[in-house]
Amino acid sequence: MARVVILGGGVSGHTAATFAAKWLGNSHEVVVVTPNAKWNWIPSNIWVGVGQMSKEEVTFDLDPVYKKAGITYKQAKAVSLNPEGSANETQPFVTIEYTGQGKEGESEEVTYDYVINATGPKLNFGATPGLGEGSQLGEHTVSVCTADHAEHASHKLQESIEKMKKGERQKFLIGTGHGMCTCQGAAFEYIFNVEHEIKKAGVRDMADMKWISNESFLGDFGMGGLHMKVGGYVVSSKIFSESLYAERGVDWMVGAHVSKVEAGSIDYELLDGSTGTENFDFAMLIPPFAGVGLKAYGKDGADITATIFAPNGFMKVDANYAAGTYENWKASDWPRTYQNPSYSNMFACGIAFAPPHIISKPMSSPNGTPINPTPPRTGMPSGIIGKAVAHSVCDLITKGEGAHLHEASMAEMGAACVASAGKGLTTGTAAAMTVFPVVPDFEKYPGTGRDTDYTFGEIGLAGHWIKHILHHLFMYKAQLKPGWTLVPE
């Protein structure tokens, strides 16, 4: 009997765990180690952040779901990996520290045959002074990265709305809180949902809204832009975003690295090296992501973290990390199997794997500050990669060491963003943007590296209806209700 240990229970970890449990059945053991008691459908946190959904609507308890699926659930955080075992343990193992289940603070060594690292990111608030301490959100800004953060953001938003109702002008600053952030899409959705809420509250004229981000152009979204189909022709996300910002009266600034956050103001550095200050009454700034800080030790106890993890803390996989500068980047640099090059029984998926390089054009200010979005690896690609990795591990267990590994390259995957601006069934609007492939393939598609003809056709129904449907679809799927395998990633 083999044991698969999955670290993390987010989109990719949960997908990997549930499929592995289904495919392996009772003859093997699937263990999930995650510090959270609840699963969270992260994209809907945007709606929690404006008070349109409750925290309970976007989360559910993991325990009953894992019981039903026959998965061993350890509510704990992974601390370190011993891929060769240790002096008194021949099997490879992972050291965990409980955060719940009545064993808080206790340590345990969980041996494994295969390990899937799907820990997701550490929300690195500490990267920008004032944004927060380490992984803890600071007092000056809000965030929508977790359901709890989003709930807090919603309270702060309500406070601002109350102030505006009393005649006090409010300045809203929303975007990214560091030069190397990803997830611009989430902030983009949030700013327009906030705008929608303020308008609904009847105080839009009391609000000044500004977008600040590390993208080099509006609508980059960390992917060097996407495109959408409008009235039969393709429109760049830049042109679309610029007209949306103009239409909604939202000011913007891009190419910005937030260098410091204080009460009511931020300091920033622009791509041209110039600096400035921006005031705010309400700020939602996304933190940069880093690896969760897993350590790795050799059999003799030596620290081998640098062998397994990239300097940013993400796990090394079958990617080409020596691609060099922008002109040398190839689609083939991107991982296909997500297997660790040093240890073949170790995989990483979702945000936890180290990408070979960014997707957008790299940029830095004359002072050497990198100001460019890092690659998004969330949502659908995470799910697809999680499933592929689970498939590989199951085949390795059932068919033996020589089994063919399943592949899922982001250079062969498309992505679609349905960005909603307002939740109402009749009043919201949304845009659907697509891109193929996620990672530009300059050899196959010279120039942009993208198939610019590629769209999914125009979204027939209003996009935000789809967003609603997706919310329920994924919450349904993740809870393993009947027919869950029919719902695609």
Binding site: G225, G232, Y233, V254, G273, A415
Partner: protein, 270 residues
């Protein structure tokens, strides 16, 4: 080499340009072609896409010098000015376009060195105008809907030359959708008949027809749902979006069907 300027209704104007990654002889050739074409047509500014080259290169004439702006970006802006613009693409059209008054730009020179500038007035406008071509756009995407509609009517083939033919993803499920839509449309029209006749047999036949038609819609919608699911999972990506769309479409069809059924039994039923 002097190249031909893209003119309406050339669809290539809608292509999105790639960033320049290699600052080598091929870039020099692009710049030379742009400059030659500018000289031949006495132009003050030209983007690579305007001569069919899908790269983010813009050349602007300053006095007698031609200066390339590569991988242009606008980082910040302020103010708004409305002025009349023209483009060689849409000949004989001039239109008032709002642009940012002041902009902060990033670009690279021929050697790939990062450059920055703060611009205002006419220069700022030219840069914004030329940058649109890099993103598959022209000033028509910058103006109000009413003006856009007037231009659309004025042009012989309309603003949007359909590029549907180049889209590889045609959903066959849409044919099934059309089938049940037509059937339901026929039922809608049948509701008019009782206004014009009181012939009992005719109305009885109409009721029978409507019942058969409505019964027919059910298997077609089911077929649509099943086939659409099959079709959406053929793609490796965005299957969930498509599925969401399909579910919405089916729900919409069910609601329509229910309304039709209720009306049929209340209104058409003899």
């Amino acid at each position: 080499m002097v190249l031909e300027l893209l003119k309406y209704p050339d669809e290539r104007i809608r292509l999105i340009s790639g960033n320049i990654r290699f600052f080598d002889a091929s870039l020099q050739n692009i710049i030379t072609d742009i400059v030659d074409t500018m000289k031949a047509n006495e132009l003050e500014a030209l983007s690579a896409m305007q001569i069919g080259i899908q790269y983010a290169v813009v050349v602007i004439k300053h006095g007698e010098a031609y200066k390339p702006y590569i991988n242009l970006r606008i980082m910040g802006k302020s103010g708004e000015i409305i002025e009349t613009e023209r483009t060689p693409y849409y000949e004989n059209i001039s239109v008032d376009v709002p642009r940012h008054d002041k902009i902060k730009i990033f670009y690279e020179n021929e050697k790939g060195e990062a450059q920055y500038a703060d611009l205002e007035g006419a220069f700022s406008r030219v840069i914004q105008h030329q940058l649109d071509y890099n993103y598959g756009s022209t000033f028509v995407d910058r103006i109000d809907k009413e003006t856009k509609r007037r231009i659309d009517e004025h042009l012989p083939e309309g603003l949007v030359s359909s590029s549907n033919s180049s889209c590889p993803t045609i959903f066959y499920r849409d044919y099934i959708k059309r089938a049940y839509k037509y059937v339901m449309l026929a039922v809608w029209f049948s509701f008019l008949l009782p206004f014009f006749t009181e012939d009992a047999t005719l109305l009885a036949n109409l009721f029978l027809f409507d019942k058969i038609a409505l019964a027919l819609v059910v298997p077609i919608v089911i077929a649509y749902a099943v086939y659409a699911y099959y079709e959406s999972v053929q793609y490796k990506q965005c299957t969930s979006c498509q599925l969401g769309n399909v579910m919405g479409t089916v729900a919409y069809a069910v609601v329509q069907w229910l309304i039709l059924t209720v009306v049929t039994f209340l209104w058409v039923s003899p």
